[in-house]
Symmetry: C2
Subunit: 340 residues, 2 copies
């Protein structure tokens, strides 16, 4: 039996994830049970929502229990199979698994990924994966973009935000992104085709929004929360829409200290629709989203970046990159070597 | 020419409306212009939104200009007409007019009200008026009640809230109202048929919601804001809806001091839809709303109260009743004597 390596959640982080919150444990694996497949992790998806799962809060999924392996989604290769429909050597999306070198999973819970010429496997964690579906359904279903609308997206150079902006451009909208470095802003305008980008670390966000959104804001795709969200809310148009995708600025915060948007009242005055959503709510429509995103990807209309960090031992420190704004594009941990 | 009496806005209130913010002015009227009708006010509608109009904020309508008559909606009798389609003696809804004894209005801007046997004129300010339409469209269009849903409504004994709850009951929902006195709570359960009522001045709202909403809350019809709203948000179910109708607790507040709901994040976790709306957005669907509400009214399914204060000179002090919670049902100022 192989020896597995798994990150166990040992205590709930206070503020950012710190040394000792998680522990990497080696343990010999049991024989594979009936109807299960053993998947060796190639790429582990690291996402802001991982931080939510570590907290003892009433979130959309129960928190990870202490002293159990940390929850995560991954792409892996099937090394052993007791499930007829999934053969050894298949590349699969695990759905929700754990931060581990190996996961034993029900064979009917994994999705075999078709090889697509010219498209790297990690695209199934980006435009064709959960983050791409988040962008697609959040913008198309809740944002309901119309030609000529102005869209603002925060965390714009992230895996979700970068897709939101490009889907917005495909739909004939003006797109303004907010990101945390000049390098990211350049990528947004020069590579991803955004109309403008605002560096919130060096610019006055309100003044920059006034400049780049002369006709106000019709859609605020919200990933961040806090004062950036307030600056956008202050400039919403009548009948604007606000897909509420994430509030990363609050995930490390003390819940007692958190405040909602001070200008919440403006959502009433502007008759804004704010709608929270989680991509798993759209699981039964993924085929539609993958078809649309896959088509645009083939046409070269979607640029994406993957920020790959190597080594399972680096999972906690890599996750922190999402909160310091260090990464551009989809953050992925390469856990083991893909087959040639 | 008759002498008019009009309340002029002299300065923008800080906090609650106080002596000197408005001034009652007598002035001789000019002759009635072409295509206009002269309407003597019978009933002036007093609503929380009046306070919004007095502030220099970016609301859904421009603020009332200083040193002009205060804006208001009323029902009156036509005393003179230069507009063929509206005859002298007609009872009309003025739409937006002013806090005055007389309003000269374009003949095509007033709505002649049909007499309905057994239904008092003031019903056109309640179930069949703007507050009734607010309740109807906010609940039906945004709240989208399903049989068995639990609805919570704040300011439940007010003109809007009392209708929301009864429309909810008609639609097979469990309805819990939040109000500010035992008398109002008794009215809600004993007269209006609410399943439960919570006196926020004497009860722990959170604990009472836990007791009265054992299956959580599917629809929060929000009229108030502040800590009551937070208590409701904390108990929302997945895929809940929150028609955002009013935030009366904030209208007198210092905008700099205001905070949004501290648990804004829960709107994401619960995938709640929050949607601001103003009844004027539904003007083109009023016929639908009046037909539905009128039908239920005839069937005796809608109980309503009218809190009538007499005398134009009492308009500012009467308005304050809305903010102290003194009134039950629709607050109306009787300005002059209706025709026999």
């Amino acid at each position: 039996m192989p020896t597995n390596q798994s990150w166990y959640l040992r205590r709930r982080p206070v503020g950012e994830v710190s040394e000792g919150d998680l522990e990497l444990v080696s343990e010999e694996m049991s024989p594979l049970a009936d109807d299960m497949v053993r998947v060796r992790t190639l790429y582990l998806s690291l996402d802001p929502t991982n931080r939510i799962w570590m907290s003892d809060m009433d979130a959309y999924l129960p928190p990870v229990e202490l002293n159990t392996p940390m929850r995560g989604g991954s792409i892996g290769v099937v090394e052993e199979s007791n499930f007829d429909a999934v053969s050894v050597g298949s590349i699969v999306n695990t759905g929700l698994a754990t931060w581990a070198l190996y996961n034993d999973l029900p064979g009917d819970a994994v999705n075999v990924l078709p090889p697509i010429p010219g498209v790297p496997l990690t695209a199934f964690m980006g435009p064709l994966g959960a983050t791409g579906m988040t962008a697609y359904f959040g913008l198309m279903d809740i944002g309901a973009p119309k030609e000529g609308d102005t869209i603002v997206v925060s965390a714009a150079a992230g895996a979700v935000g970068s897709m939101v902006g490009q889907i917005g451009k495909i739909n004939g909208c003006r797109v303004v992104g907010i990101a945390g470095s000049d390098e990211k802003c350049r990528w947004l305008t020069d590579v991803a085709g955004f109309d403008a980008a605002i560096n919130y670390k060096t610019e006055d966000v309100g003044a920059a929004l006034d400049q780049h959104c002369p006709d106000g804001i019709d859609i605020n795709f919200e990933n961040v929360g806090g004062t950036i969200m307030e600056a956008v809310i202050a400039r919403l148009n009548d009948f604007s829409r606000m897909p509420l995708c994430g509030l990363i600025s609050t995930y490390n915060a003390d819940p007692e200290a958190s405040t909602g948007p001070k200008n919440f009242e403006n959502l009433l005055m502007r008759r804004t629709k704010v709608q929270g959503f989680i991509v798993i709510d759209y699981l039964d429509r993924f085929a539609e989203g993958i078809a649309a995103m896959g088509g645009w990807l083939m046409e070269g209309k979607l640029k994406f970046e993957t920020d790959i960090v190597e080594g399972l031992e680096n999972a906690p420190s890599a996750l922190r990159r999402l909160f310091t704004g260090a990464n551009l594009g989809k953050l992925v941990l390469q856990v083991s070597e893909p087959p040639a």
